[in-house]
């Protein structure tokens, strides 16, 4: 039996426990929530192993209601004494609370759509497998000599149950596995991040994520300072996600309706239905518009990167270009990773890119740069039309940053 199996409260046990707690209640209403499970993690930094642990948890939250008065008490002790005291405490708190005018009536029995978010491969993962996953970043970084890596692997396997006096009961088991890492170059100038999350441990490609972060660290070395001003900026999905998370603080309906949010309409009410962001309409230069009927392919992208001004005389792009073949190949290879459907790179000898050797060494087998839909990232050269990217292995929404 694994640690997860021992820690997760089975459906029948959860239902029995909720029914037992409901019977202890003297309130008009009672809602019981049970969380149980096991969490294990391993952390590494500065090319060293850091902390690693496994935690068995359970928590029972009891919310009692008398009319529109309600309050909650929480415990992680499932003994009868403890449960009786916690019920009594939530009832005492509820009686003391004033009426909540926004209280909603409790739900009765519900029908739920079954979901399948529990994977044995995640729940049963061993400490040795977690350590081996960490080695996908540690080994190459140690071997390289010029890199320092810091990362974190965490797996969760748990169950949530909820029930009330009116016969509502729901139960769900779920697993998650999350990997993030940051690789930095020892000269302090380069840094690359990678990360992914899945309910299924087997879906996480640790080696690829580690390789990608290392590549990014190297590509970002020795950045050049730029003047302050307005630039078109291309953000990875995770970076956009971080901004969206910040916006969430102000997306409450109450705050908007009450006049204390950027989403409040002047004069009263909120901005629901109003256009608040402008996606299309980027003011491309006439020079670039002249290429509008053409399709971006690797060769055009290569020429554009060599010298935007030569490719499109009169462009607003101030970037001088990059004469280094390897740099351009790396940029193109990176942009390709942002594509949902990356176009295969041309073979080294292919006329499209061979003269400049733009295709990275890793370029593959299948030739023929797609004549049709270009590498999506190519469209980002002057502006960033929404069309660009959504990498398949991109970062998890839940990954954290302080």
């Amino acid at each position: 039996m694994t640690s997860s199996t021992r820690a997760i409260m089975a459906r029948e046990r959860a239902q029995d426990l909720i029914e037992k707690i409901v019977k202890m209640s003297k309130a008009d209403g009672i809602t019981v929530t049970i969380d149980s499970g096991y969490q294990a993690d391993v952390r590494f930094a500065a090319n060293q192993m850091s902390t690693a642990g496994g935690v068995t948890r359970s928590q029972i939250a009891i919310d009692s209601a008398f009319g529109k008065r309600h309050a909650a008490a929480t415990t992680n002790d499932v003994s009868d004494d403890s449960l009786r005291r916690t019920v009594a405490q939530s009832e005492a708190l509820a009686k003391l609370s004033p009426e909540d005018p926004e209280t909603m009536p409790p739900l009765g029995p519900q029908t739920y759509v079954p979901v399948s978010g529990f994977f044995d491969a995640t729940a049963d993962i061993t400490p040795e497998e977690r350590a081996r996953a960490a080695l996908t970043a540690l080994e190459p970084s140690r071997k390289a000599g010029d890199l320092k890596t810091a990362g974190f692997i965490i797996v969760n396997a748990g169950a949530n149950a909820i029930g009330n006096k009116n016969g509502m009961f729901a139960y769900n088991r779920a697993t998650t596995a999350n990997y993030t890492l940051t690789v930095r170059t020892n000269d302090g100038t380069g840094s690359g991040w990678g990360g992914a999350e899945s309910p299924d441990w087997n879906k996480l490609d640790f080696a690829s994520l580690s390789t990608r972060a290392i590549e990014k660290a190297r590509l970002s070395r020795s950045p050049v300072a730029i003047e302050p001003g307005k630039y078109t900026v291309i953000l990875e999905p995770q970076a956009v996600g971080d901004l969206v998370q910040l916006m969430e603080f102000y997306l409450g309906a109450r705050e908007s309706d009450e006049g204390r949010s950027p989403f409040t309409k002047q004069g009263g009410g909120n901005k629901v239905g109003e256009k608040i962001a402008d996606v299309p309409g980027f003011a491309f230069s006439d020079a670039l518009k002249a290429h509008a009927s053409e399709t971006w392919d690797y060769e055009k992208l290569n020429q554009w990167l060599i010298s935007p001004k030569a490719f499109a005389p009169g462009t607003k792009m101030t970037y001088a270009g990059d004469k280094d073949d390897a740099d351009r190949a790396n940029i193109i290879a990176y942009l390709s990773t942002l594509s949902e459907k990356p176009v295969p790179f041309p073979p080294p000898a292919a006329p499209a890119a061979s003269s400049q050797e733009a295709a990275p060494a890793a370029s593959s087998s299948e030739a023929a740069p797609a004549s049709s839909s270009a590498a999506p990232a190519a469209s980002s050269s002057e502006a960033a039309p929404a069309a660009s990217s959504a990498p398949a292995s991109s970062a998890p929404a839940s990954s954290s940053a302080q």
Binding site: T56, A72, S79
Partner: protein, 527 residues
């Protein structure tokens, strides 16, 4: 073993479950807890650990939140369990369980050892711990006079609703949010070094925010963060006189609606301790965490410009000669104040910045060894500063911030004296929103109340103020600081760090201080 486990559980259960009542009893040193702790570390040692420690704790939180004239949330959270740490062949492992029986803690200890052993394949350098004195059967209690958990919820809510009512009397105020957060931690610790320690820590938080809205909804302004959290009891809540001060805070919110939007430019800034504590927290306390400086937080909280230590210690001129920054866990009422840290170290006061120059970092037992070369050069022993902390029994302890404070100057001057000595500037009270890069080098800070200073006098209120800083330049521009009488502590309950993320409560004491010629931007500009 099994029979002993059941006996232990039976003996333990009533004591712990008794704490679920609204007025929990004190938890004295308990033979059963000691027995469980001995079981944990002995099991770890038998399984192959060269070192092990165990924390058995009860973490009790209680909250009441209100808005205007209604309670929006009350909750009481009680969490007990044991966390065991084991060092095997130079590699850490940690196991935690809520099952406080002999079998339960022994299983957690075995798991800690198993995880440590599994990680050996990925180990490079073995962990080494600096020596620590053993403290056998010691107890410690934080400096609260009235246990806040003894105050009925009704009384707490009444206080908040009366304060809200006072704020709502002020014309222009539409919303008030207030709350009381109480924390009580009963921590028990034992290690294979021979320590057995029991501690009780109480903290209180009093969030209070008033929002004034312009009649046409064209603007809204808030006044919040008016009371700093503290490592004290109900007496601290009463000292804040919420009802008496609510009207003043509400007036400040309304005045911000009419305040002049700041003109961008360079100003002398006079920063009140209620504001400056946050700047210290972000730009001094975080970058001098040793694990952070060495890249151990690179994947989460960030790194530090105060790195590498060999190029910084004794060399980096952080500020003027009169600038001394102390790390400690001893200040009365400090949120990070504690008798013994989570490695059994009795913390000492230490100067992070001495006479303006970087002198030390925040350390644990593992980290202090990394700076042995520096301590040797200074003729000091390499020992932990007692900065190890886990935010519950279920999280592994690691380096967390102690109280990090700007020590007062020699002259007996204060806030008004510094304003009087300033010709053109802005005086800032209260902490607001901020942004700082992951190395803690470039930052921008807002505030709560901004006073315009002309000719040594406050001439009105400003709004939309934020100042930009590059950390060493900013601190080196400091040219006046207050004396002992003007020393005040600010604090946060929610300093985040680590993976899995943990929170830490920490205080920062400081005095009013002046900074010359600082770039101020206008945050209200539309484009």
């Amino acid at each position: 073993m099994a029979a002993a486990g059941i006996a232990a559980a039976n003996a333990l259960s009533p004591r712990f479950t008794g704490l679920l009542s609204a007025q929990p009893a004190e938890l004295p040193q308990d033979d059963v807890i000691k027995q469980l702790m001995m079981t944990a570390i002995n099991t770890a040692k038998s399984a192959g650990a060269s070192y092990s420690d165990v924390r058995i704790g009860r973490y009790h939180n209680s909250i009441v939140f209100t808005r205007e004239q209604q309670i929006v949330n009350t909750a009481d959270v009680n969490n007990i369990g044991a966390g065991v740490r084991a060092l095997v062949d130079g590699t850490w492992g940690f196991g935690a369980t809520k099952t406080l029986t002999t079998d339960g803690v022994a299983a957690a200890a075995r798991e800690a050892v198993a995880i440590a052993r599994a990680n050996r394949i990925a180990r490079d350098q073995p962990v080494q711990l600096t020596p620590v004195q053993a403290y056998s059967n010691v107890t410690w209690k934080s400096s609260f006079k009235i246990d806040p958990f003894t105050i009925p919820i009704e009384q707490r809510a009444d206080l908040l609703l009366r304060a809200n009512a006072e704020a709502l009397k002020v014309k222009g105020v539409r919303f008030v949010n207030s709350g009381l957060l109480f924390v009580k931690e009963d921590r028990n610790f034992a290690s294979t070094e021979g320590s057995v320690i029991s501690q009780t820590i109480v903290r209180v938080g009093v969030p209070f925010t008033v929002t004034a809205v312009a009649p046409d909804n064209s603007d809204f302004q808030t006044r919040g963060n008016v009371v700093a959290p503290a490592g004290r009891g109900w007496e601290y809540v009463l000292e804040q006189d919420l009802v008496g001060n609510a009207g003043k805070w509400a007036e400040q919110a309304v005045q911000k609606l009419q305040a002049k939007s700041v003109e961008v430019g360079r100003y002398d800034l006079v920063l009140h301790p209620t504001h400056l504590w946050l700047t210290i927290h972000e730009s001094i306390a975080h970058p001098t965490e040793l694990d952070r400086a060495l890249g151990y937080e690179a994947n989460y909280a960030g790194t530090s410009f105060v790195a590498p230590p060999e190029k910084m210690l004794g060399k980096l001129k952080y500020g003027p000669e009169f600038m001394n920054i102390q790390g400690d866990r001893s200040q009365e009422g400090g949120c990070a104040t504690i008798g013994y840290d989570d490695e059994g170290v009795k913390p000492e006061n230490f100067l992070i910045i001495k006479n303006g120059v970087l002198n030390d970092y925040q350390t644990t037992r593992e980290q202090a060894a990394w700076l042995k070369w520096w301590y040797d050069s200074q003729g000091r022993p390499a020992r932990s500063h007692g900065c190890s902390n886990g935010d519950s029994w279920g999280t592994v302890q690691f380096q967390r911030m102690p109280n990090v404070s700007l020590l007062p100057g020699d002259k007996d001057i204060g806030w008004n004296d510094i304003i009087a000595a300033t010709d053109r500037g802005i005086a800032i009270e209260g902490d607001g929103s901020f942004s700082i890069d992951q190395q803690r080098y470039n930052a921008q800070f807002g505030g709560q109340v901004f006073h315009e200073i002309r000719g040594g006098k406050i001439v009105g209120q400003l709004k939309d103020v934020a100042y930009q800083m590059r950390t060493p330049d900013f601190w080196n521009s400091m040219d006046m600081i207050g004396g002992q009488k003007s020393y005040t502590m600010g604090a946060t309950f929610f300093d985040g760090k680590g993976q899995p993320g943990q929170v830490n409560a920490v205080s920062h004491g400081c005095v009013p201080s002046r900074f010359r010629n600082i770039n101020v931007i206008n945050t209200g500009r539309k484009s």
